[in-house]
């Protein structure tokens, strides 16, 4: 009780724009600080590791382009989560939709073969990815729209179905996707060169990055400028208000979830066409779909911020790989996963400080925790008077 008396939370009267930036930045710093503790405990020197990470991820041309390549799928899955979460539709299934997009994209590319000219093949590959992602979310979306079934459960469970289906397509001896020349360890059949996404010079950056950024711009435009975006914002704020205005809520739910699946599927197609060039479980199963949720949350579901956050997180992931070959000693790749987790935890915790501030000493005005009686727990429906 006495400890509570000293510090308490007070609602900020107004949230200023700089707080929206300062809080995430402070959260990331806090995440890195926690990481430093772990590094020290495991016998590494943070003052060596962090600069090395920085150069591996951002401050060298090679590192930075690699970071952009790692960020590309994260933009897609980040957008997938952002468009859905923002309106209270929790698509946890970007992971599975990404696999489905990858399966569809590689299937179409393989079926078209070498004969088709590159622009047509690439377009077909990307569209197939979109279609695959949409198909994978179609059933959860319909169940949510008509039956009100929680999309959280259905999309999550379908992730496992997609993962095992993809494995089956690679390992199955009669599978169209399997590379017949890989006799000792099964692998996906490489897609024809015409369907590969163009790369920037000698780097690993590919056309998928441009497509992903374009998608982010498009999503922003739709949300801010169009009728659909307006209706979505109304729906996201109050479903009752949407119904009152005569907005077809069912159609909105379908549209949002299908768009979310499409964006994740697009990320899958980008990975096939731009990086793996074949259906490849090792390369895909990095939790890109789940990482997209982290990206979206850090970006506060803002599509343009998703791009920036994806680059940041892509850098952390990319540095994790690079660190293993650090001359000073082997830094485990798990460090980057740990940092990702720490940053997420601090950012989600930091959200609280955007809306509230800490007050020390006795407070006035706010209902303090000093007295159980003054803690508002149950309150009647907000009266219309103010």
């Amino acid at each position: 009780m006495t400890a509570l008396r000293a510090v308490h939370l007070q609602r900020r009267p107004r949230v200023r724009p700089w707080q929206l930036v300062a809080v995430p930045v402070a959260s990331i710093a806090a995440g890195l600080a926690v990481g430093a503790v772990f590094l020290t405990l495991t016998g590494h020197d943070p003052t060596m590791v962090y600069p090395a990470m920085l150069s591996a991820a951002f401050t060298t041309w090679f590192g930075f382009t690699d970071t952009l390549a790692s960020a590309t799928p994260l933009i897609g899955t980040g957008l997938a989560a952002a468009v859905a979460f923002r309106f209270g539709l929790y698509n946890i299934g970007a992971e599975g939709q990404l696999y489905a997009g990858a399966i569809a994209a590689s299937g179409v590319a393989l079926a078209l073969g070498e004969a088709v000219p590159a622009p047509a093949a690439v377009t077909a590959l990307l569209l197939a990815g979109v279609a695959g992602g949409m198909l994978w979310i179609a059933v959860p979306a319909a169940a949510r729209a008509w039956l009100g079934t929680s999309e959280i459960i259905t999309t999550l469970l379908l992730n496992y179905v997609a993962l095992y289906w993809m494995r089956y397509l690679i390992f199955g001896s009669t599978s169209f996707w399997r590379d017949p020349t890989s006799t000792n360890f099964p692998q996906g059949k490489p897609i024809p060169a015409s369907a590969e996404l163009a790369e920037l010079g000698l780097t690993r950056v590919h056309l998928g990055l441009g497509v992903a950024v374009l998608a982010a711009v498009l999503v922003t435009l739709v949300l801010n400028r169009t009728r659909l975006g307006f209706h979505l914002r109304v729906y996201g704020d109050s479903e009752a208000a949407a119904s009152y205005a005569g907005i077809n809520v069912r159609r909105l739910v379908l549209a949002v979830l299908l768009a979310s699946g499409a964006l994740a599927g697009l990320a899958g197609a980008g990975e096939i066409g731009g990086r793996a060039h074949a259906l490849d479980p090792q390369g895909l199963a990095l939790g890109l779909g789940y990482a997209g949720i982290i990206v979206a949350a850090l970006a506060r579901y803002n599509p343009l911020a998703v791009v920036l956050v994806a680059v940041l997180l892509g850098g952390v992931r990319n540095a994790g790989t690079a660190l293993q070959s650090l001359p000073g000693g082997r830094v485990p790749i798990a460090i980057s996963t740990m940092l990702e987790g720490a940053i997420l935890l601090f950012t989600l915790g930091g959200e609280l400080f955007i809306r509230y501030r800490l007050r020390f000493g006795r407070g006035q005005g706010a209902a303090t925790a000093e007295d159980l009686e003054s803690v508002p727990v149950a309150s009647p429906a907000e009266p219309t008077t103010r």
């Binding site: 400028r225 009728r227 007295d371 149950a378 009266p383 103010r386």
Partner: protein, 515 residues
């Protein structure tokens, strides 16, 4: 109408206490400043045993702040609080309770997952380590009988209706032995029937020698239940008067600071053609009792038809069927000659209907969207939304309706109740509608805003709009309606002309007598 049942007991308590006796609690020159606002300045208030003392004022006048100072939640920046004539410093609500002062806040402070009895003893340091359920129970039974506060001690607070939760709060304070009970806008969350029951309780407490401070901005209830009234405006006391030496008009003028006209308004010219025709509308959810049963009514151009009824008797359903939000099981709705039955909200709007729902924030408006966006809510939109025009339109509405807001980009949830209603009316009334459905348009608003809304609806009526006004507040209905229908259990049980409707007759019909 509220409080009639209580007025019998009225003032007997006040006579018992001699007026020479020192006030049980008193504020002298109390001031309180919040960042940027002076909530109280030089406030004097004296509350005596045996009286119901009303603290009247518009929203933001400083009523809650003053009460919070008296109960120890806030500390005054200047001035003193006296209890039984002696200056005291109340550092927190526990100090207040120790001196016999307790407050029931607008937002209840109960633990939903606890039972009623557990909530009542919560935070009471007189309780032994092991709670004796029997003692609490018998005390509750005794208080319940004395003051008409019956509640099941074993019910979970989260399962109770708002009115019952309020009784828990009051019982809790009485159980703590308060002599002074402050209630902050207790009727804001109550139905008129529940409010009447509360007033009976308050009168019983006064008759028992307790002091009751009733915070309100409703003139009717203040006049019906209080012995004395202190009026606050902009943080200052405008005056303190005896309830039987004043009237609505004087109180409204003191409260608002200018003359307010709340007299009834009626149509000046005979009604025109029927613009809304509802025939035989029924709504029967499968396996449950009918919500509407064969309702027929017509609204003519230039006429206000009031539908009175206690909440839950089908008004909301009727409004939603007319507005196209629900399809009736049977019957037809015709808006300005066009059949709109079950064809959705857009079809009804397309035919010339506008709808102001009772739930303004959440249904009529999207709370976190801006004023500009909310004004677009029911407009037909092209593929692209034209932000610039929307912002300009919002500026017009803000100016024309004198909405207090930082600008078109302000979120509506940050506005006060009156301004929220202005935004909603600004959208629904600026369309060239022929039929207007409004539900409880002045509920929860303060006097100045009520006058504004009534004037606006009256102006629409004179402009030839047919208005369907649904409300459970007879004062609201009688102030505007040319014809009054009473809805009881989904049926129209009474129809009267607005001018000569008898209050008792309407009240009985609403309660189902003779239906």
């Amino acid at each position: 109408m509220s409080g009639q049942s209580a007025s019998g007991a009225r003032r007997s308590g006040a006579d018992a206490a001699s007026s020479a006796e020192a006030p049980v609690v008193e504020a002298r020159g109390v001031g309180k400043v919040f960042p940027g606002v002076t909530a109280n300045a030089g406030v004097d208030l004296a509350v005596r045993r045996g009286e119901v003392h009303a603290l009247l004022g518009e929203n933001g006048a400083g009523k809650s702040t003053l009460a919070s100072i008296l109960c120890g939640l806030y500390q005054p920046d200047e001035g003193t609080v006296l209890v039984d004539g002696r200056p005291v410093t109340l550092r927190n609500p526990r100090d207040g309770l120790a001196r016999g002062i307790g407050m029931v806040h607008q937002h209840f402070r109960l633990v939903e997952r606890f039972t009623v009895a557990e909530n009542i003893v919560l935070g009471d340091r007189r309780q032994p380590l092991v709670l004796s359920a029997g003692r609490v129970r018998s005390a509750m039974v005794e208080l319940g009988e004395r003051y008409g506060l019956s509640i099941d001690p074993d019910a979970r607070v989260g399962d109770l209706a708002v009115g019952e939760q309020q009784r828990v709060e009051i019982t809790k304070m009485l159980y703590r032995g308060v002599d002074v009970l402050l209630l902050d806008e207790p009727t804001a969350v109550l139905t008129p029937q529940e409010a009447d029951a509360l007033f009976t309780t308050l009168r019983a407490m006064a008759a028992d020698g307790k002091a009751v401070v009733l915070i309100s901005h409703k003139l009717g209830e203040v006049l019906a239940v209080a012995d004395r009234v202190t009026v606050l405006r902009d943080g200052r006391v405008v005056g303190a008067v005896a309830a039987d030496a004043t009237d609505r008009h004087q109180l409204a003028t003191m409260m608002v600071g200018r003359e307010v006209d709340l007299s009834p308004r009626r149509a000046q010219s005979p009604p025109g053609v029927a613009v809304l025709d509802v025939r035989g509308v029924s709504l029967r959810p499968p396996g449950r009792p009918a919500r509407l049963a064969g309702v027929s009514l017509q609204v003519h151009a230039g006429e206000v038809v009031g539908v009175a009824g206690v909440a839950g008797n089908g008004q909301r359903e009727l409004a939603e069927v007319v507005a196209g939000l629900r399809a009736p099981t049977e019957g037809t709705v015709v808006v300005a000659g066009r059949g709109t039955t079950g064809r959705g909200a857009r079809a009804a709007r397309g035919a010339g209907l506008a709808y102001v729902p009772e739930d303004r924030l959440g249904t009529g408006l999207a709370p976190s969207l801006s004023i500009a966006d909310n004004l677009l809510l029911t407009r037909p939109l092209g593929f692209f939304v034209d932000r610039r025009t929307a912002t300009a339109d919002a500026r017009c509405v803000i100016e024309r309706f004198d909405v207090k807001a930082t600008g078109p980009a302000a979120a509506v949830r940050g506005l006060s109740g009156g301004n929220v209603q202005k935004v909603l009316l600004g959208r629904e009334l600026s369309d060239s509608c022929t039929v207007l459905v409004v539900a409880s348009p002045t509920r929860g608003l303060d006097v100045g805003a009520i006058e504004f809304v009534r004037d606006l609806l009256d102006e629409r009526r004179r402009g030839g709009v047919g208005v369907l006004l649904l409300s459970e507040d007879l004062d609201e209905i009688r102030a505007l309606a040319d014809r009054i229908l009473v809805l009881f259990e989904g049926r129209i049980v009474l129809e009267r002309a607005g001018g000569d409707a008898d209050l008792t007759e309407l009240g009985l019909a609403m309660a189902g007598a003779g239906a």
